[in-house]
């Protein structure tokens, strides 16, 4: 992909002449960011296992909304189908099969809360310093595909499928092998002999 290399060379300085600041998208982003962070905090702090799974639905749905804001519609739909459809159901099955305490339980956390908060704050500080230092106030341009800036240039499903079945065909086939291995592995592990 020579054009991709050219685009990288053009885009790396991350300077954009025109602003892509649009108010509705930013309002949606702000609302769902607050909701997502609250829900994620509830996932790791709630004392009810089933509630944790249900708060996880909110977080995963918010992530899908982020993909739509970033014009990656195909990935967004996949996120909704796979995560909200399959993974949450798997989690609820896991809760049921391990006889996790339904209802409020005080026995879900260990005594490493201080270490956890320390690691979390340090990690967040380092990450946000690095991000703000390196990307500053650079704007999203959506200019990657064909080098054209503007709406509807990021999420073209045609381009995504071209990439999957062209350039990334071998990783894709490896992925199907991995899924087969995971299927067999899960059955072998969980089977009662």
């Amino acid at each position: 992909m020579n054009s991709a290399a050219l685009i990288i060379a053009e885009v790396v300085p991350l300077v954009t002449p025109e602003t892509t600041f649009d108010v509705p998208a930013n309002v949606v982003f702000a609302v769902q960011a607050v909701v997502m962070i609250f829900a994620a905090l509830r996932v790791v702090t709630t004392k009810n296992v089933v509630h944790a799974a249900l708060w996880l639905v909110v977080v995963l749905g918010g992530v899908g909304l982020n993909y739509i804001l970033l014009q990656a519609e195909f990935v967004a739909v996949t996120q909704f189908l796979v995560y909200l459809g399959a993974v949450i159901v798997l989690f609820l099955f896991g809760v049921m099969l391990t006889r996790a305490p339904l209802g409020v339980s005080d026995d879900l956390d260990n005594n490493q809360k201080k270490i956890g908060i320390g690691v979390g704050v340090a990690l967040l500080a380092v990450l946000s310093y690095a991000l703000i230092e390196s990307f500053g106030r650079s704007e999203l341009t959506f200019a990657a595909y064909e080098g054209v800036a503007g709406p509807n240039t990021n999420g073209r499903t045609q381009a995504v499928s071209d990439a999957i079945f062209g350039q990334y065909l071998i990783p894709f086939e490896m992925l199907s092998l991995l899924l087969l291995a995971a299927l067999i592995g899960a059955i072998v592990l969980a089977r009662r002999d």
């Binding site: 991709a4 685009i7 991350l14 600041f21 930013n26 982003f29 962070i37 994620a40 996932v43 790791v44 296992v49 944790a52 996880l56 995963l60 992530v63 982020n66 970033l70 014009q71 990656a72 990935v75 996949t78 796979v82 995560y83 993974v87 798997l90 099955f93 896991g94 809760v95 391990t98 996790a100 026995d107 879900l108 956390d109 908060i117 690691v119 967040l124 990450l127 946000s128 991000l131 990307f135 106030r137 650079s138 704007e139 999203l140 341009t141 200019a143 990657a144 990021n154 999420g155 073209r156 381009a159 995504v160 990439a163 999957i164 992925l175 991995l178 899924l179 995971a182 299927l183 969980a190």
Partner: protein, 98 residues
């Protein structure tokens, strides 16, 4: 929209996920925290796909598939732990402690 608003959101989600992995005792809840971390990474991939082309979206799709496989195998392991110990608390797996 700024690039950093998405990146900072994903950094916060990643941090919360790491906190959950450290603090939670129940195996299913640890797996949920790992899902938070994987989703934070996926947001990063999609954000950078707006700069570097569709490769980011392709890898996000790969991550989603691998995360689904990981949850399947992980829940099977948690189920096995439950069957052997009669509890899903992974803190009780301390047989390798000296």
């Amino acid at each position: 929209m700024l690039l950093n608003q998405f990146l900072l959101l994903s950094a916060i989600l990643f941090t919360i996920g790491v906190y959950g992995v450290i603090v939670r005792k129940n195996g299913v809840l640890v797996l949920m925290s790992i899902e938070l971390v994987l989703n934070a990474v996926n947001i990063n991939l999609i954000v950078f796909s707006t700069y570097w082309g569709v490769a980011g979206q392709v890898f996000a799709l790969f991550t989603i598939a691998i995360a689904a496989a990981e949850v399947g195998v992980g829940l099977a392991i948690v189920l096995l732990i439950y069957r052997n110990l009669r509890s899903a608390d992974i803190d009780e797996l301390d047989e390798m402690k000296g």
